[in-house]
Amino acid sequence: MLTLEACSDAVMDAARELSDAIGLGPLGVALRDTAAPPGVVGGYVAVVSPRSSVQVGIATTRLSAARIGALMLGLDEDDSGLEESELQDVLGELANILAGGLKRRLAEQDGGLELGLPIFVDGRFEVSSPREACVQRIGSDVGDCWLAVYVQNAAFGGRAR
């Protein structure tokens, strides 16, 4: 059974790996937050198995997302006028990579995890069914990002999928 702590640590580790790979630079210390603030945009991916259901997400401001996109595409920051579809693409792909990183790191604990396709959320992301949640705010060279992990195990009484 996956724990919230294990999932949060795995996502944070994946975020640092991703940051190194795209040249974002070192990430700041993760600070627990209650939720991402209003007005952010985010990408989310489900990671599910017969025993667990996890939502992995990354949210940030549109400006920070555009800066990350510019980094990924090798553009100058001043030229990073990403279209809305590209912005959604950036966040979806970031969430996809983080979710894959979580799955890889927790494969020994739950070998049945499968990844969903990314979704883009403009605004507040809320979950309605009982599950544990952890939102971590991290600083970076392009601004703050919020890493969100929501975990529901079969033990909570809900269906994992």
Binding site: G69, M72, L73, S85, E86, D89, N96, I97, L115, L117
Partner: protein
């Protein structure tokens, strides 16, 4: 050589091209497809020498694309760049005929190492 990049993320396709350049392989010709079904059309029209493909895509996944190609007798060199990096996915990729599987986030070093055994891929 001609390289087909298959990924439903336009940003990821651009990032893969950039990583090819950073790995010393920017001189190849590149074409793109946004999912497995689209890739089949592009493979038919462009006849790439190498397909570099994501795994999870709508309409047709990367592994479905590879299996379809091999079932049709197409032996084009094929590799995955994917967020799926577990041992069972690597085994499935290899069994289906993939030459490599690189996990995202892809780096110039990881891509360069994966491309070494690819025929005709000299820097």
């Amino acid at each position: 050589m001609k390289v087909l990049i298959v990924d439903d993320s336009k940003v990821m396709r651009a990032l893969v091209r950039r990583t090819f350049r950073q790995a010393g392989h920017g001189h190849h010709d590149f074409c793109e497809a946004e999912n497995g079904r689209h890739a089949i059309e592009v493979i038919r029209s462009e006849a790439p020498d190498l397909v570099v493909c994501d795994w999870n895509m709508p309409q047709m996944t990367g592994i479905e694309l590879l299996e379809a190609l091999r079932a049709a007798g197409n032996q084009v060199q094929f590799g995955f760049i994917t967020s799926e990096g577990s041992d069972d996915f690597r085994a499935r990729a290899s069994a289906a005929g993939a030459a490599f599987l690189v996990t995202k986030p892809v780096t110039p070093d990881s891509l360069a190492a994966a491309l070494e055994p690819v025929r005709g891929i000299a820097c």
